[in-house]
């Protein structure tokens, strides 16, 4: 089951705009939600998923954000219901080329991959292709 939704969490509005532009060009029908405030993004994570109708989703998460940064976001994310988590693949999308950030995310079990900004069409294609969710269906 291919992902049907992209969730963008980045305080940088410009980046979200760019990401949406490239996703729309690659997957014109896919659903995209974006947040510049991480808290709001997280609230969405808690509420936008149900168990009876799973929506396979891709999360592109920035690290360097005020109030709640990417790592903190992930910490909270790991506490969410497994059934929610099963529906989401997390990608870090950061401007940082710091190896520490990359290593840290590589160690993180909930992070699929670390992407360095800027995002490209190829990157989105690849994300889409490498995700084939076997999501639990109630039937």
């Amino acid at each position: 089951m291919k992902p049907t939704r992209f969730i963008l969490v980045d305080d940088d509005n410009l980046n979200n705009m760019l990401s949406k532009l490239f996703i729309k060009r690659t997957l014109p029908n896919i659903e995209i939600v974006d947040f510049t405030l991480p808290e709001k993004g997280f609230h969405y994570m808690e509420t936008a998923f149900t168990f009876d109708k799973p929506i396979p989703s891709i999360l592109l998460l920035d690290i360097n954000m005020p109030i709640m940064d990417g790592w903190e976001f992930l910490k909270k994310y790991s506490l969410l219901d497994k059934k929610i988590q099963e529906q989401i693949t997390v990608y870090i999308l950061s401007s940082s080329v710091d190896k520490k950030d990359q290593d840290f995310s590589a160690d993180h079990k909930n992070v699929k991959r670390y992407l360095v900004k800027p995002i490209t069409l190829e990157a989105i294609k690849k994300i889409y292709e490498e995700n084939d969710f076997a999501i639990y269906s109630p039937g």
Binding site: D12, L14, N15, M17, L18, L21, F22, R25, L37, I63, N64, P66, I67, S94, S95, S96, V97, D98, K100, D101, V116, K117, P118, I119, T120, L121
Partner: protein, 1505 residues
């Protein structure tokens, strides 16, 4: 016929009986008896004729008759012989001859029993052949083998037929000689048998009873004769003795040393023996003229008179006296004797006084008594025990301490003479003592050390010292000394040395002790450790036993020139050229530069040891080096000038216009006693002698007017108060307003001038006042040009000046004096003579008077050396010479007078060989007159065997030379007493010089000898006692002012062996100069109270040794109670004092060490936890006075809690206990010094090993500096860490924040390039691009700002007013302020200013205020409060607002982080607080935050002042 014959015989028998009876009567009168014999003889002859006629046949009868006749004739002859002869031997000879010739016996002999060997000795014989005589000497040939028992048998024994007799063994001999029968008759003397008269005949049965009776009569006659001779001899001897005794008596009296006088009742002397002259000096005649009572000492007279008067009433009685009598020469002679009242004895009719000179005895007795008292005083003057024991272990003497000890320990006393070996000793101890005593008896002198545990532990030294009398050991003297104190002192010494060792080892300085030759004799642990750690890089590393000087020399060779200086310095310290020596030197190890200071110091009291201490001074050195570089140049310039000035012996000085010293050269110290430093800045006038102030000021004023001062003299007061005259040369420098002066010390010059004047005056004084005569002669004819009054008096002339000697004293020309003067004048040699006789016409009357002169002629030379006159000095010694001559004469007379004249009480008539002994002679020998025949042999038999050989020799020699002589010897009297005798003798010669008589005296001097021996014995006891106790005694006599010392006393002073006397001055001079005053005080005090006193002092002997003496003295009083002298003892206590001294010295050394140690040391008594000792450095470090510190312990100078939070007392006790257990303990410790300042110190605790004791050494070092350095280091490290973190963060920030806009730009560009975009989209992207670029720029700008702050320290610091600053900020944001109704409340009353970088401080507050406005609560107007606070070393600024606040729990770590933002709704790059923090820190401050969400935020900013 037979009958007739028988009848005849009977008749003749009757007649014979009658005759026998007659004969008995003859014993009464011999002559009558003889006549009767003769008569009877005639009758018997007549009868025989008749009988012949009557009967020829009666041949046999006739034979027997003739035999009877023969016997009668025999008797008759014997009797005749008895009347004729008068000695035994002749009688015996005659008796034998008559027996053979008249009695017709074949042989007759007489033997007398020799009682000595109980043998019969052949006395006389007749008819005997030589063979017979030989045989008769053999007992076996005697008739009956005569034996002693037989001698007491009846009167005779006969053998009628030898051949038939059974017991006779000489039958053959008898047969050969024709002896048929024999008789042996007993000869008696005084009724006792003394021998036998033996007759042999060829006839048989010769010895009928009748004949035996007749023969018995013969021997009775002989016995009678013997008795008679004996009686006559006795009679003659008696007569002879009577006459001799008279002679002897006179001799005795005349020659005895005892004086005998006969005195009338009234006291007048009418006889005196010659010995009076010998003892008292008066001749016989003189003495008779004197009343002897006038000679008696006034003190002795009253008693004498009383006794004398009593005696007059008691005829026949006598009294004894002992008194002083006046010798003719004026001295008192002690006399002892008896006076007997013999007034009623007509042959005497006076009082007989018999006395002798006992002065010597008295002296001996007195001396003995003194010695005995002295001995008693001596042995009781010490606390030591003294006693002596004889060979029977009986106590002879003991002192009071000994008796006390016995009483204390045994609750008993040992009486004198009691056994010393107490039963209460254990057998083991008893045996021990016995053994020791016996060792001493065997002659060994030894010391035993005894350790006693009970009742109090103590050590004793017991001296055993044999007492000798001659060669014999008669006992032992013992002396027990309590040496506990010495022992303990030694113990303490040992402990204290260990203690010091502990201290030294705990020091951190490297310390070594050198002896004078450079050997290292001790080093401490630090020294050793340094050597191990540093190898052989410097000269300070060496081990004990190696030679430091050598190491230095090796270092010099290796190129360390500094070692040479070190060596020189240390040697100078040894040579006392300097007190100490300090040298700094480098000792760089490969990785570190280091400096050391070497300090060499002599022990205060010990010139043979030097302590070398090395201390690292690197830090100080580094600082110094900088200073040195900067000041060096200046110094050099100055020192050149100073050197020139200082080289001058005169003081060169510069004085400013006010008269104060500006500069003074070093000579000022020599001239004024002040060092230049002491003078600079002070007025010159202060030094000027007050009387010359005015003069000096005037001169100085003159000088200022421009008069250069060539010469000016005034006086100055030196530092020591003395005056010094100074000669000045001075110049005034108008330009600089300085007076330059050169001052010269002219003391010496002044002194010489004065001395010259004094000498001149002295010469005239001498000349005029001199007691000796002197004068000056001028020219070759000796004109008097000077002569002093004594000279004029001597020669008896006046007005002699200008006259020649020849004119003035013409009488001396012939005596050669002018020639002497000529000789001196010519040769220039001085001439002197002593006691030269000169005859002078003193009275100018032509009579010459003898004068003895000592004189000196001394040539006087002109300046060119030529002689122009003669000095003469004359001393008149006439009186001296004349009186000496008189004395010499009288001495000669005295010697003559002292020539020997002595007595005799025995004599040998050399012509007759007869010896005579006086009664007393016998008495001395213990026998009675008549007991023994006087002879040399008899005399010698009494002489003590040991002396016999000497005496024999003396007598023999005398008899060869006939010279007077004498000897002393011993004699053993018959009753076994040993007596000392004195014998003296002389000879009497006839006209032709042949010796007639040998006579002399024999005197019993035992009493004298014994008292002498007693003296010797007591003296020797005293000596022994003194020697073993090292106690000497002395006696000061106030009258003679002389000090008499005992042997030991003399030894203590190391006087020559025979010197026993010291003058008072000498004695005082022996006292150590430092002690004299105190001794004098003691003595003065004791004289005031006349009390016994004791004092300790030192004596300084001539060889430089010092002895410590304990003296005790007591006053001696005469009979009137006046003090007459002082008796004292002195004990050498050097040994014990030295030990104590050594302890002191060791302690002193320690103190020195302690004092000079470069560290701060205290000693802690761990029982009280208090400090007991501390050194100067400790006081300096801890800033307490010595008094304060001693009352404190470690806890008292520490804060209650240590930096690690633990309680001081608890942790302190723990550490001290650890150290006590022997662990070296080093720890950091907070201390509070005397000023209340807390500081961190490193404390090293070390227990003093080897010493059981509660002491710890604590060594403090202030490590505040080090601590701070460490802190600094930590700060730097943390700074570095921070920077590193910052750098990391920075990388991070760059990767996030810098790259974010870059990534956006890249993304946007990519989108623009690759994607077909709608125009609206395109515009959106282009706008986004623009925003990203602006953002990028902003980030770069921020980074630039941050890097600037971090790396640069721009601008100058300036004084910034907080108030001003805040106002400026308010103005710059006034729009916002108004808009948001912001209130800023400030209070900078505590402090309003600080020195800082204005822009930074501005930025800090700007950021804070703008943050407060930015993050305000929506509902509230922002209120900001800023306050300043001032502290000792810091300023605090408190900033608070009422804004949103930050959740500190969440954000604490990140508040001040770069690019951190806490508020989503508000713009901001997260740089403000980061920048604020960096700026605060750059200014050296700190910033802290406290915040609560929705309440506000507080910032606390601290800046150092």
């Amino acid at each position: 016929m037979e009958k007739n014959l028988a009848e005849e015989l009977r008749i003749s028998n009757i007649e014979l009986v009658f005759q026998i009876k007659e004969k008995e009567k003859r014993e009464i009168k011999l002559i009558i008896a003889k006549q009767e014999f003769a008569f009877q003889n005639l009758e018997i002859e007549a009868r025989a004729e008749e009988l012949k006629d009557l009967n020829d046949k009666l041949y046999k009868t006739e034979i027997s008759l003739s035999k009877a006749n023969r016997l009668f004739s025999f008797i008759s002859h014997i009797n005749k012989t008895i009347t004729r002869v008068n000695d035994e031997q002749t009688l015996f000879n005659e008796a034998c001859r008559i027996a053979v010739e008249i009695g017709e016996f074949k042989m007759a002999w007489i033997g007398i029993l020799d009682p000595s060997d109980c043998k019969i000795k052949l006395m006389a014989s007749s008819g005997a052949t030589e063979e017979d005589i030989k045989l008769l000497s053999d007992e076996g040939f005697h008739i009956d083998g005569l034996k002693e028992t037989n001698m007491q048998d009846p009167d005779y024994r006969t053998v009628s037929n030898i051949q038939k007799a059974e017991q006779i063994q000489w039958k053959d001999y008898a047969a050969a000689r024709g002896f048929i029968s024999a008789v042996s008759l007993r000869i008696k003397k005084s009724g006792n048998v003394i021998g036998t008269f033996n007759l042999y005949t060829a006839e048989t049965n010769l010895f009928s009873d009748k004949e035996i009776i007749m023969l018995k009569e013969v021997v009775e006659d002989i016995s009678f004769g013997v008795d008679l001779f004996e009686k006559e001899k006795t009679h003659q001897n008696t007569v002879k003795l009577v006459t001799e005794n008279e002679m002897r008596f006179r001799a005795l009296i005349e020659n005895s040393t005892d004086m005998k006088t006969l005195t009338f009742k009234e006291g007048k002397v009418f006889y005196c023996s010659p010995s009076v002259k010998k003892s008292l000096g008066y001749s016989f005649e003189e003495y008779l003229e004197l009343n002897p009572q006038n000679l008696i000492h006034p003190d002795d007279l009253p008693d004498y008179f009383k006794k004398w008067n009593d005696l007059l009433q008691l005829p026949g009685q006598s009294f004894h006296f002992r008194q002083r009598r006046l010798h003719k020469k004026g001295n008192w002679v002690w006399c002892e004797g008896n006076i007997t009242n013999l007034l009623e004895d007509h042959s005497i009719g006076g009082l007989v006084s018999n006395f002798r000179d006992i002065t010597e005895k008295m002296i001996a007795e007195k001396r003995h008594e003194f010695d005995k008292n002295n001995l008693d005083a001596l042995i009781n003057s010490t606390e030591d025990l003294m006693w002596s024991v004889d060979r029977n272990f009986n106590l002879i003497t003991s002192n009071i301490p000994f008796d006390k000890m016995i009483k204390r320990n045994f609750s008993a006393v040992i009486p004198k003479g009691g056994n010393i070996l107490l039963a209460s000793y254990t057998p083991k101890r008893l045996n021990h003592f016995k053994k020791q005593y016996n060792r001493a008896f065997a002659g060994e002198a030894f010391v035993e050390t005894e350790h006693i545990a009970f009742p109090v532990e103590g050590w004793f030294e017991i001296f055993y010292y044999p007492i000798r009398k001659g060669d014999e050991v008669i006992g032992t003297a013992c002396h027990s000394r309590d040496i506990t104190a010495i022992k303990k002192v030694a113990d303490n010494l040992h402990k204290s040395e260990a203690f010091h060792g502990g201290v030294i080892n705990s020091l951190s300085a490297h310390i070594a002790v050198l002896d004078a030759s450079g050997n290292i004799i001790a080093v401490n642990e630090t020294w050793k450790r340094f050597g191990i750690e540093n190898g052989e890089t410097t000269f300070q590393r060496t081990e004990i036993g190696s030679n430091f000087f050598k190491v230095c020399l090796q270092s010099v060779e290796a190129g360390y020139t500094i070692a040479e200086d070190a060596l020189k310095g240390i040697k100078e310290v040894f040579q006392e050229k300097r007190i100490d020596f300090y040298l700094e030197y480098t000792c760089h190890s490969p990785d570190k530069q280091r400096w050391f200071g070497m300090h060499a110091k002599r022990f205060e009291s010990d010139e043979t040891m030097v302590v070398i201490a090395h201390q690292e001074i690197t830090k100080r050195k580094l600082a110094e080096n900088k200073l040195i570089v900067t000041t060096n140049e200046l110094q050099r310039a100055l020192s050149d000038l100073t050197k020139i000035m200082d080289a001058s012996l005169d003081v060169i000085c510069a004085i400013d216009a006010n008269g104060n010293f500006l500069k003074v050269s070093a000579a000022s110290e020599a001239v004024w006693g002040y060092k230049p430093d002491e003078l600079i800045g002070k007025p010159l006038l202060n030094l000027v002698y007050s009387e010359e102030n005015e003069k000096t000021q005037l001169t100085a004023a003159k000088l200022k007017e421009g008069n250069n001062l060539g010469y000016f003299e005034n006086r100055y007061v030196r530092k020591d108060g003395s005056l010094v005259p100074i000669e000045w040369a001075a110049r005034w420098d108008k330009k600089d307003q300085i007076r330059y002066g050169v001052a010269r010390d002219v003391t010496e010059k002044k002194r010489l001038e004065k001395a010259f004047e004094i000498e001149r005056l002295q010469f005239f004084d001498l000349f005029l006042e001199a007691p000796s005569s002197m004068g000056v002669l001028s020219g070759s004819n000796h004109l008097f040009i000077m002569a002093n009054p004594p000279y004029l008096e001597l020669i008896g002339k006046r007005d002699i000046i200008g006259k020649s000697v020849l004119e003035v004293l013409p009488e001396v020309v012939e005596q050669g004096f002018i020639e002497m003067l000529d000789e001196v004048f010519r040769t220039g040699k001085a001439y002197s003579a002593n006691e030269k006789l000169i005859k002078l016409d003193v009275k100018n009357d032509g009579k010459l008077v003898d004068r003895y002169l000592n004189f000196l002629y001394q040539p006087h030379r002109k300046e060119d050396g030529k002689i122009d006159g003669i000095f003469f000095f004359v001393v008149d010694v006439s009186e001296l010479v004349l009186s000496r001559k008189t004395i010499e004469e009288s001495e000669a007379r005295l010697n003559e007078a002292q020539a020997l004249s002595h007595i005799s009480n025995w004599g040998i008539n050399l012509a007759t060989g007869i010896h005579s002994w006086s009664d007393e002679f016998y008495t001395i020998c213990g026998i009675k007159p008549g007991d023994m025949e006087p002879s040399v042999a008899a005399y010698l038999s009494f002489i003590h065997p040991e002396d016999a050989a000497d005496v024999k020799q003396a007598i023999q020699k005398t008899l060869e030379t006939f010279e007077a002589s004498h000897f002393y010897s011993r004699l053993i009297s018959k009753d076994g007493l040993t007596k000392y005798i004195y014998s003296e003798w002389d000879f009497e010669f006839d006209k032709s010089g042949n010796p007639l008589r040998f006579y002399g005296i024999l005197q019993d001097v035992t009493e004298h000898k014994i008292s002498e021996e007693k003296v010797i014995e007591s003296e020797s006891k005293l000596k022994v006692a003194q020697a073993i106790a090292h106690i000497g005694s002395w006696e000061l006599d106030f009258e003679t002012k002389a000090l008499i010392l005992s042997d030991e006393g003399s030894r203590l002073f190391k006087l020559p062996a025979n010197q026993r006397e010291l003058s008072l001055d000498d004695w005082v001079n022996f006292a150590h100069p430092d002690d004299r005053k105190s001794i004098q005080k003691k003595i003065e005090k004791s004289i005031q109270n006349l009390s016994a006193t004791s004092f300790d002092h030192r004596i300084l002997l001539k060889d430089g040794t010092i002895r410590y003496i304990h003296s005790e003295s007591k006053f001696r009083f005469d009979s009137g109670g006046k003090p007459s002298g002082i008796n004292g003892t002195m004990q050498d206590v050097t040994k014990s004092t030295k030990s104590a001294e050594k302890l002191k010295q060791s302690e002193r050394r320690f103190r020195e060490f302690f004092k000079s140690a470069p560290e701060s040391i205290v000693v802690i008594d761990t029982t009280t936890m208090m400090f007991t000792k501390y050194n100067e450095n400790a006081l300096r470090l801890l800033k307490y006075s010595a008094k304060e510190l001693i009352k404190k312990g470690l806890a008292d100078i520490s804060p209650l809690f240590q930096p690690d939070g633990r309680a001081t007392k608890e942790i302190g006790r723990e550490l001290i206990l650890k150290a006590v257990q022997g662990n070296k303990t080093v720890f950091e410790w907070a201390l509070i010094d005397g000023n209340g300042k807390e500081f961190i110190s490193e404390v090293r605790l070390a227990s003093l090993s080897n010493i059981e004791g509660p002491l710890l050494i604590a060594n403090f070092a202030d490590i505040t500096q080090r601590k701070e350095n460490e802190k600094g280091m930590a700060a730097i490290t943390s700074d570095l860490l921070q920077r590193n973190k910052d750098l990391e963060k920075f990388t991070y920030i760059v990767s996030h924040n810098l790259r974010a806009p870059v990534a956006n730009i890249m993304g946007l560009l990519e989108a623009l390039r690759t994607i077909d975009l709608e125009p609206l989209e395109k515009k959106e992207l282009m706008d986004g691009l623009s925003v990203s670029v602006v953002k990028l720029n902003g980030v770069i700008y921020d980074l630039n700002n941050i890097l600037q702050v971090k790396n640069n320290l721009p601008e100058k610091r300036e004084r910034v007013s907080f108030m001003q600053l805040i106002e400026n900020i308010q103005i710059s944001i006034s729009d916002q302020m108004k808009k948001q109704h912001v209130q800023i409340k400030t209070d900078f009353s505590a402090i309003d200013q600080m020195l800082t970088l204005k822009s930074y401080l501005h930025s800090i507050f700007y950021n804070l205020i703008s943050n407060s406005i930015k993050f305000r609560q929506p509902s509230l107007s922002p209120v900001i409060v800023i306050k300043s606070f001032k502290f000792k070393d810091k300023i605090e600024l408190h900033y608070s607002d009422n804004g949103l606040g930050i959740n500190m729990k969440k954000e604490e770590d990140q508040v001040f982080g770069l690019f951190k933002r806490f508020h989503k709704d508000t713009e901001g790059r997260g740089v403000g607080l980061f920048m604020t923090k960096i700026q605060v820190e750059t200014l050296g401050g700190k910033i802290n935050i406290e915040s609560e969400v929705n309440k506000g935020t507080k910032f606390l900013i601290q800046f150092p002042i």
